[in-house]
């Protein structure tokens, strides 16, 4: 018996109107954005675009209205996500708040935190970043060292967060800090905090260039940074459990298989120009994998809609999805043999240029391939 359950899930017919609306919106908005920029999709940050999406009601779609949400179904949200990703919309600015931090605050945040922050997130004005990883704490998240020491009225934070995507544009970080130093109890000493990155002294954010030369993630250094009591998220010492729940959201979406979709489209466009049957077999295979991953991803969405916990299934989809995404530039190269380009060249060449350099991160971010497979192995009863 397989430990996972992937029941088929068909999107309800009423989502189709929304899909059409989103396609019309994107047909207006996207042509001005170069394809190579669009290839960044959920890593590409564009505040003006996020505000437009907020105005449309496409951020915080499933959240309660009292917090600026729109009380729509997870299926509506799924349709919105997949349309944005497939078209290469620059949804990066609000992505983490919408996907992860908003739901976290809804679940564990205080009433004040929700009222103050969520409506602005839903408007596309307030952005989040995730402060989990550190220099000595990557896959081994429980090795977190950044300390939050109790002081009068709050906590004093010291330490370094690393690889923090979007910290340079974000208003808030959800930071995972150590509130209890007992080495016997690594997991129990972790607590999540909301950190106001724009109005807190003692925080230095230094962009780190990635291999492609883009500055998208950062080092965030805390030196006696004061975080008030009211900014704790959930319970003291409850950080580990909360983070685990959060990661289920982080791993469950269609962004885990669609990150290279633009390259697939450009490959087809190249082959179209050549006419004939060249590359048909390879494209057919990619289509088969695409369709399969979409059904798996939809199945996870169906579980979320039903209020079930698809953490294990999400790991399965993310692992398979990352293989698919990472394979795309390889397939493109094998099929067309065209050199990847940066800053000049055809759409195909530039999209290839961006993705060839970026795909190695797809099986690192959000939990490495090996960690995911470890989770799956535990699900299989091997650990």
């Amino acid at each position: 018996m397989q430990p996972f359950r992937f029941d088929l899930c068909e999107l309800p017919g009423e989502t189709e109107g929304l899909r059409e609306e989103i396609r019309a919106f994107l047909a207006e908005e996207l042509p001005r954005i170069p394809k190579a920029t669009r290839a960044q999709t959920w890593s590409g940050s564009d505040a003006a675009f996020s505000r437009k999406m907020g105005a449309k009601g496409w951020i915080g779609m499933t959240w309660p209205k009292q917090y600026g949400g729109h009380e729509r179904s997870f299926f509506d949200r799924y349709v919105m996500l997949e349309e944005m990703l497939a078209a290469g919309a620059p949804v990066g600015a609000h992505w983490i708040g919408d996907r992860q931090s908003g739901p976290l605050l809804l679940r564990f945040g205080t009433e004040e935190q929700r009222r103050k922050i969520l409506p602005r997130v839903a408007k596309g004005e307030c952005y989040f970043c995730i402060g989990m990883s550190e220099p000595d704490s990557g896959s081994d998240l429980a090795a977190t060292r950044t300390r939050a020491d109790k002081v009068d009225g709050g906590y004093k934070v010291n330490g370094t967060k690393l690889w923090t995507s979007g910290a340079h544009t974000a208003h808030y970080m959800i930071g995972l800090f150590r509130t209890n130093l007992d080495p016997q109890n690594k997991h129990a000493g972790l607590t999540q905090f909301l950190v106001d990155l724009k109005n807190t002294d003692g925080i230095t954010i230094r962009p780190i260039k990635d291999l492609a030369g883009n500055a998208h993630f950062n080092e965030v250094v805390f030196q006696d940074a004061f975080v008030p009591d009211g900014m704790m998220v959930g319970t003291e010492g409850g950080g580990w459990g909360q983070v685990t729940a959060e990661l289920a959201f982080e791993r469950s979406g269609p962004e885990r298989y669609l990150s290279s979709f633009l390259l697939m489209v450009e490959m087809i466009r190249e082959l179209e120009k050549r006419g004939g049957a060249e590359g048909a077999c390879e494209i057919g295979r990619l289509v088969a994998h695409l369709v399969t991953l979409r059904q798996m991803s939809l199945s996870v969405a169906g579980m979320l809609e039903k209020g079930e916990n698809p953490a294990l299934e999400a790991s399965v989809v993310k692992d398979l999805g990352a293989i698919f995404e990472q394979d795309m530039p390889v397939r493109a190269h094998e099929l067309l043999g065209i050199e990847p380009m940066v800053g000049e060249g055809s759409d195909y060449e530039q999209v290839l240029g961006y993705l060839t350099q970026t795909v190695p991160s797809f099986s690192l971010r959000g939990g490495t391939r090996e960690i995911l497979r470890g989770i799956i192995a535990r699900g299989l009863g091997l650990r």
């Binding site: 494209i283 369709v291 059904q295 798996m296």
Partner: protein
Amino acid sequence: MNELQTILSDSVNGLLAERVTKTLVQKAEEGEFPAALWNEAEANGLTRVLVPEADGGAGGTWADAAIVLKAAGEHVAPLPLADALLANWFLATAGIEVPEGVTTLLDGDFTLDGGKLSGEASRVSFGRNARYGVAIAKGVVVLVSLDGAEIEHGINVAREPRDRVVLRGAAATAKKAPLPANAMRLYGALIRACQMAGALGYLSSQSVAYANERTQFGKPIGKFQAIQQQLAVLSTQAAACGVITDHACAQADKRGHDAVFEIAAAKIRVDDASSIATSIAHQVHGAIGFTYEHGLHFATRRLWSWRAEFGAGREWAEELGRETIAAGAGALWPRVTAR
């Protein structure tokens, strides 16, 4: 699962789990057809899932049939259960009464002339054991008795009979049916894909079970991370195949004969998965899995055979890819989301 599906699942899995023993499969490979098991499967209605209730069937859908097909693959039943299930559906679709006894598919070149069928099919599943064959000749479904047929024995690498069947003016019952021209290959691909998904599920659970039993260096090999990672891969491949075959069946139910897209995708996906999965399953089993004595190969050899039947993955990929390129880059996403 709905009520019919629960009944079907209990019935087919109960029957096959109990009766398809290693001895039975080995005997089948030596040429002894498990007739008693066939009779029971037929009596339980497993070959008539897609036949309307009025005609003595279960009146089921492809989603229901998938349960039987996957079980047939999972338990490596040495019977043409899947082929008969499809053959009987063709008959029912044409309004031809479904006969009792082993019925198989005649996937070949046939012509119907004055009610007599002539032609040949080169790789007929269990042809020598079948009482009847079902062919499709120019949109006409044809039922023939194989009593007087010329049958030349052949096998696939799983040692399942794949016989050459030649008919020369055999008396036939023929009726026109609303089936697409490629019905045999298309639905043949669907039944094999479902069987393969079942066999892949078996490889996954069997390999996990073995890794928990087999001890080396003082602990079960499943405790080694290298093995865990491989089994994780195997299980995700099996899961993907479960999903895409369910999807193809659901779309076949929903779209009538317009589910080529999904059926092609399913056959391609299970073909890809079978290469990865058979390799991992054997690696995890070590030498014992390479013996005839151990039953692992009953599933892996079937996968190696079935993946080439009714169009290998690469053939379907070629078709799907041609269409995709011809429709143009902009058409891909709308097409994927419309289905």
